[in-house]
C-alpha cells in the first residue's frame, strides 16, 4: 500500500514524507469525510435546519444506542454480499451491475426450494434453499460472463437487462405458477414454515446474513489476493491478451468470477427469504443489489474494504428515518448526504501520492 515514492530524508530526523505516505489511506478519507460533512452541513443549514443537531441525530440513529447499532449492522448485511457481485468480476476487469437480478432470482429459487421440500428436516430445507439461491445467482451472472467471454457481449448492459428480466420473472412466478392461493393481497409463494426459518445471531437482533457476509468477504479477499486464481483474475483484469499469452484461461476466469459474484448475491436473496419474509414476493426488489454496486466501487473492489463501507452505508441508512421524524427533512436528505460524501471521497482519490507531506510539516 504505502509505496512512498519519496526518497529517504537526508537527516535522521522524522521522515514526514514516509509517514505521510503511509498514513494516506487513513488521512485522505478522513479529510474527504470532513469536507463532505462541511458541505452537507452547509446544505442542511440552507434548508433551515441546525447542522450540528442534524449530525447528532444521525449519530443517534446509526450508532448512538444499542438498538441503533444493531439497526446499522442489519442494514449493512445484505450489502456485504451484493457488493461482491460487482467486486469479484471487477478483479477480472468486468463491470457487472446486475446484482439486483441475481439477488431477486436467488430469493425466488430459495423460496421455491423451501416450499418444494416442505416436511423435510429444517437443516435440509435451509441447506437446499441456500444452495439453490447460490446456484441460480451463479448461473444468472455467470451467464453474463459466458456471453462476454464467448460472444463479446458487453457484461454491463447484459447484466442490467437481465435484472429487469429477473424482476419480471419473479413477479410472474409469484403471481402465477408459484402463488400461494392464500396470499391474497400480497401475492407470494407459500411460506416455508415459521419453524424452518433462520433466526437471529445469539445476543443480537441481526440475522445470520451478517456473519455470512463477513465470512464471504474474508474468503473473497483471500481468494483474490492470496491464490493463483486471484492472481490470474488480476492478470485478466490488467490485460486480457497478455494473460492469455501467459497461459491463463481467460474465459474460464471470467465466467468463474462472475459466477462467484452472482452466487454471493443469490445467497443474499436467500437470506431475505429464509430469515426475513419466509416466502418470496415483490419485497425482494428492494434495491440491495444496486446499493451493492456503490459499495463495491467505494471499496475499490477490495473485498476486505467492503466490510467497513457497508457498515458506513448501513449507518447512514439507519439514521435517515430520524432526520425525517425529528426535523421533517425529506427522505431524500440521506441521499444528498450519500451523494456528496461519495463524490468527495472518489474525488479525493486524486490526492494519493500528490501531497507534499514534508513541506506541510515544515510549514507547521
Amino acid at each position: 500500500m504505502a509505496t512512498g515514492g519519496a526518497p529517504n530524508a537526508p537527516s535522521a530526523r522524522v521522515d514526514w514524507a514516509d509517514i505521510g505516505a503511509r498514513l494516506e489511506p487513513f488521512l485522505i478519507p478522513l479529510f474527504a469525510l470532513f469536507v463532505s460533512l462541511a458541505l452537507f452541513g452547509a446544505f442542511v443549514a440552507l434548508a433551515g435546519q441546525p447542522p450540528l443537531e442534524v449530525y447528532y441525530q444521525m449519530y443517534r440513529g446509526a450508532f448512538g444506542t444499542w438498538f441503533s447499532f444493531q439497526n446499522t449492522l442489519q442494514r449493512a448485511s445484505p450489502l456485504l454480499l451484493t457488493a461482491l457481485c460487482t467486486a469479484l468480476p471487477a478483479r477480472a476487469g468486468l463491470i457487472v451491475i446486475g446484482g439486483e437480478g441475481a439477488f431477486v432470482m436467488g430469493g425466488l429459487a430459495a423460496g421455491a426450494t423451501g416450499v418444494a421440500l416442505a416436511g423435510s428436516p429444517r437443516a435440509v430445507i435451509l441447506g437446499a434453499m441456500f444452495a439453490a439461491g447460490a446456484v441460480v445467482g451463479a448461473i444468472w451472472i455467470g451467464f453474463c460472463g459466458f456471453l462476454r467471454a464467448r460472444r463479446g457481449v458487453n457484461e454491463t448492459i447484459a447484466s442490467l437487462l437481465l435484472t429487469y428480466i429477473g424482476i419480471a420473472l419473479l413477479n410472474h412466478f409469484v403471481e402465477g405458477p408459484l402463488r400461494d392461493p392464500e396470499s391474497l393481497n400480497k401475492p407470494s409463494t407459500r411460506h416455508i414454515g415459521e419453524a424452518n426459518m433462520l433466526g437471529s445471531i445469539p445476543g443480537l437482533d441481526v440475522h445470520w446474513g451478517l456473519v455470512a457476509g463477513v465470512v464471504a468477504c474474508l474468503v473473497a479477499y483471500v481468494l483474490m489476493e492470496r491464490t493463483v486464481f486471484g492472481f490470474s483474475a488480476a492478470l485478466v483484469g490488467g490485460n486480457a491478451r497478455a494473460a492469455k499469452l501467459s497461459g491463463v484461461k481467460v474465459a474460464e476466469v471470467i465466467v468463474i468470477t462472475c459466477a462467484l459474484g452472482g452466487a454471493a448475491a443469490g445467497v443474499a436473496g436467500s437470506f431475505e427469504v429464509a430469515a426475513v419474509h419466509g416466502r418470496a414476493n415483490a419485497s425482494l426488489v428492494a434495491g440491495y443489489g444496486y446499493a451493492g454496486i456503490l459499495v463495491s466501487f467505494l471499496a475499490r473492489h477490495n473485498a476486505l474494504a467492503i466490510i467497513p463501507v457497508s457498515l458506513f452505508l448501513g449507518g447512514i441508512a439507519a439514521s435517515g428515518g430520524l432526520l425525517q421524524r425529528v426535523f421533517a427533512l425529506p427522505d431524500a436528505t440521506v441521499n444528498v448526504l450519500q451523494g456528496i460524501l461519495f463524490v468527495v471521497l472518489i474525488a479525493s482519490d486524486t490526492l494519493y501520492g500528490r501531497i507534499r507531506w514534508r513541506s506541510l510539516a515544515g510549514a507547521r
Partner: protein, 411 residues
C-alpha cells in the same frame, strides 16, 4: 441487557427536548462523538468488530444525565408510509388522516415516508418506539403486516399497532395489533354508475397495479355499478405490474383511449398520471384514494376516497382512554370511512340522481352489490340466484374473478 440500554436512551431522548440554545459546545462534542465511530468503521477495516458497539453504548451512558422529569402525558403516534406522503393517492389519504390526528390535544405525530416493505419497516417501527417514544403506530402499507408488524408487535407488547388492510385474525395475531379497512368498493360502485351514465362509447378503462382481491373487487364493483345504469358498458383492464409506474400508467391510459375508452380510472398508489393523461386527451375520469379533482377540472366526474380522519381520531380517543381499540374495524358509507368526491361539471342531473340513490341505499344497507345470480366474464356462474354476499361477507375478500362486462383474463 437491551432493556437497560433502551432505558438509557429514553433519558437521552428527554434531554433533547431541553432548549438547545446554550448547548452549542455540547453539540460540538457530540459531533466528535459522531465522527469517531464512523471513522473507526470506515478507515480501519481491520479493527475489531466488538469495539464499535461498546463505543456508542458508553457515550450514550455518558450523555445520560440524571433522569429528566418523566414524560408528560403527550402521546406520540408514528405514521409510516410506503411512498411520498403527498402523492395525490394512497399515502396522501393516510397523511391527511395523520394531519387531523396531529391537531388533537396532547398528541405528537412522527411521520416517515418511502419505507419499503422489508426489514426497513421493522427497523423504522422499532426506531419510532425506541428513539421517539411512540406508543401507537400506524404502519399504513398493506405489505407491512406479515411478517413485519407481527414480529415487532410481539417484541413490544406495550405498543399498539394499527394496520390498514383488515388482516387481523383473533387468536392468531398478537393482542396489541389491530386492523382496519374501508369498503371502498361501495364508492367505486357509485363512481361506476356515474361513469356508466356519462360514457358515450360505452367503454370504461381501469388501470390497476396487480390482480389481487382488493383490486378485483374495485374493478368488479365499478363495472357492476356502470352496468346497473347502462348494460352495454364494458370495462377494459390494464395491469401495470406495480404500484407506482408513472410512464407505464401513462402508456396504459393512452392505449385505452386509443381503443375508444372515454372514462378512465385507476387503482395504483397515485392516480395522478392517469387522471392528468385523461384530461389532456379530453376524456373523463374518476378518481381513487384522495381527490384528484384539481388535476382535471373538465373531465373529473367523481372519485372513491378514503376518510381516514374519521377512523384515526376514533382510534386515538380509545388509546388515550387507555383501552385497546377494536381489533377489526371496517366500514363503508354507513360508518363514514369512505366518501365520494363532489360530482364534476360533466355529470348530468339524471346521473347524479341515480348515483345519490345508490349511495343512499348502500348507506342504509339495502343494496347488495354482490347478489346472485352473477356470472364471471367467461360465462361461469359465480354466485347462484338467491345468494347474497353483503359487504361484510369475508368471502368477498378473496375474490379471484372478473365479472361479466370486464375485458381481460386472470392468470
Amino acid at each position: 441487557m437491551s432493556a437497560k440500554r433502551e432505558h438509557g436512551d429514553d433519558s437521552l431522548m428527554m434531554r433533547r427536548s431541553a432548549p438547545p440554545a446554550s448547548s452549542t459546545s455540547l453539540f460540538q462534542r457530540r459531533l466528535l462523538l459522531t465522527l469517531v465511530p464512523c471513522l473507526v468503521a470506515f478507515a480501519a477495516s481491520c479493527s475489531k468488530k466488538e469495539e464499535a458497539p461498546a463505543a456508542p453504548a458508553s457515550s450514550a451512558a455518558a450523555e445520560a444525565t440524571p433522569a429528566a422529569a418523566p414524560a408528560d402525558k403527550t402521546l406520540t403516534v408514528g405514521f409510516i408510509y410506503v411512498g411520498p406522503k403527498d402523492d395525490f393517492g394512497y399515502n396522501q389519504a393516510h397523511h391527511e388522516g395523520a394531519l387531523a390526528v396531529s391537531k388533537l390535544p396532547g398528541i405528537k405525530i412522527r411521520e416517515e415516508e418511502k419505507v419499503p416493505e422489508t426489514l426497513d419497516v421493522q427497523k423504522t417501527m422499532e426506531s419510532m418506539i425506541n428513539l421517539d417514544g411512540a406508543k401507537l403506530l400506524f404502519p399504513t402499507s398493506f405489505g407491512y403486516f406479515d411478517p413485519h408488524i407481527l414480529k415487532v408487535a410481539e417484541k413490544y407488547p406495550n405498543v399498539t399497532f394499527l394496520h390498514c388492510g383488515g388482516l387481523y385474525q383473533e387468536g392468531k395475531h398478537p393482542k396489541n395489533v389491530g386492523s382496519y379497512f374501508g369498503y371502498i368498493d361501495e364508492a367505486e360502485y357509485v363512481a361506476g354508475i356515474v361513469a356508466g351514465g356519462t360514457t358515450k362509447t360505452n367503454k370504461l378503462g381501469f388501470i390497476a397495479a396487480k390482480p389481487i382481491p382488493q383490486v378485483l373487487r374495485n374493478i368488479n364493483s365499478y363495472t357492476l355499478g356502470a352496468r346497473s345504469i347502462n348494460p352495454k358498458v364494458e370495462t377494459t383492464v390494464i395491469f401495470t405490474g406495480d404500484w407506482s409506474m408513472p410512464v407505464k400508467e401513462a402508456e396504459a391510459a393512452n392505449t385505452l383511449i386509443d381503443q375508444g375508452v372515454d372514462v378512465l380510472t385507476a387503482h395504483v398508489d397515485s392516480p395522478k398520471v392517469v387522471i392528468e393523461t385523461a384530461e389532456k386527451r379530453g376524456v373523463f375520469s374518476t378518481g381513487y384514494h384522495a381527490s384528484q379533482a384539481s388535476l382535471a377540472p373538465k373531465g373529473y366526474l367523481t372519485g372513491a376516497e378514503w376518510n381516514w380522519e374519521k377512523v384515526y381520531t376514533a382510534y386515538i380517543e380509545k388509546v388515550k382512554a387507555g383501552q385497546m381499540p377494536d381489533h377489526l374495524v371496517r366500514g363503508g358509507f354507513s360508518s363514514g370511512y369512505i366518501k365520494l368526491s363532489p360530482y364534476g361539471a360533466a355529470v348530468s342531473d339524471a346521473v347524479k340522481a341515480k348515483a345519490d340513490e345508490a349511495k343512499a341505499k348502500l348507506t342504509a344497507g339495502t343494496l347488495v352489490i354482490y347478489a346472485g345470480p352473477m356470472k364471471d366474464n367467461a360465462g361461469k356462474e359465480i354466485i347462484p340466484a338467491g345468494t347474497d354476499h353483503p359487504q361484510t361477507d369475508i368471502s368477498l375478500e378473496s375474490m379471484n374473478y372478473l365479472v361479466q362486462g370486464v375485458k381481460g383474463k386472470l392468470n
